[in-house]
Amino acid sequence: MNSAEELKYLLPASVISVGVQTNKPLAVIKKEDILQVAEKVKEMGFDNLSVITGVDREDRIEVIYNFFSYKKKQNLVLKAILDRTSPSIDSVVSFWKVADWLERETYDLVGIKFNGHPNLKRILLPEGWMGHPLRKDYDMSIEQFVTVGEDGEDIVSTDGSNLLRGE
């Protein structure tokens, strides 16, 4: 049996359904049990966390984890469904250190909060940026500008008059 079916066999209460993501086994899990599932997945030998993706569907937000095992040469995909008004899930940074920056990026661009993350701040956009750009309801018509304050940190505002040259 493939790795998603094995996970369902080991943790039947946490896995909602088993499917396929084009050619990789996919397991949809409950978001409250993510830490237990992560521990089991690490025990099964998946030591490489490739990517964490956040997708904004119209009525929900999905977070997708892609794993790979160097020893067993197998793939596994985990998907968790979060609600759109306040999406949050526990952080897996204690199992895979690369989740540190991957989760920060997902928080920055899609707006998912990861509980238990040591340093959940914006990483690609400056600190005071308003909104999460990869949401479908992000307003592209508001232009935000960045200036540098006294201590070298960024200040974001919608008024660019002290940066732009007047014509």
Partner: protein, 197 residues
């Protein structure tokens, strides 16, 4: 007496090829020289203030290293052995803007980087020039519709020459440098200092 007819088709004016350094300088058309009298050493140069100052400024512009994105790799290719930028006196890329007089803005200027680019420009000492290289620095380029890209670096600093391309070929780069040199050559300091009154 018979009039002397001169067959003008057989007269050829010969222009000597310039040999010494001074003759080559004359040949550029910017400076005329008078050899001083035999019992005095030294030379007298006849030129205009504009031409002399501009010749000094354009011959060896030193750029500051401000490559931001993909166009920076073409900047490295231009400064390497195949397309040699040292021919124009520019192989010395200064890391400190205080010691440079030319800024190549090469690459996309994002909103987060814009105040730093402006600060870099303000730290350079006069006289200074800016060349905007690549379509991202000219107008925002392929990233024009993005939420975090400045639509052209001329929104924050004044630009002298724009070089289009994505990325521009090294030959286009060198053409842009030659256009800048033409522009500097035609600058008029006499008018600026009020010497025409």
């Amino acid at each position: 007496m018979d009039p002397v007819t001169i067959d003008t088709t057989k007269i050829r004016t010969t222009k000597r090829k310039p040999e010494t350094a001074l003759e080559k300088l004359e040949d550029t058309g910017m400076i005329n020289t008078i050899l001083a009298a035999k019992d005095r050493e030294g030379f007298i140069l006849l030129t205009t203030i504009d031409q002399f100052i501009n010749w000094g400024r354009l011959s060896s512009l030193w750029p500051v290293t401000s490559g931001l994105a993909c166009c920076a790799i073409e900047m490295m290719a231009v400064s390497m052995a195949h397309h040699d930028i040292a021919r124009f006196g520019m192989e010395v890329f200064r890391a400190s803007p205080r010691q440079a007089d030319l800024m190549f803005v090469a690459g996309t200027v994002t909103k987060r980087m814009a105040p730093r680019v402006k600060q870099l420009y303000e730290m350079m000492a006069e006289p200074k020039w800016v060349i905007s290289v690549g379509s991202c620095a000219n107008t925002g380029g392929p990233y024009h519709e993005s939420y975090c890209v400045l639509k052209g670096v001329d929104n924050i600093i004044p630009v002298d020459v724009y070089i289009p391309g994505c990325p521009p070929r090294p030959e286009a780069w060198l053409y842009g440098i030659i256009q800048l040199r033409q522009k500097i050559k035609n600058e008029g300091y006499g008018v600026k200092w009020g010497l025409n009154k």
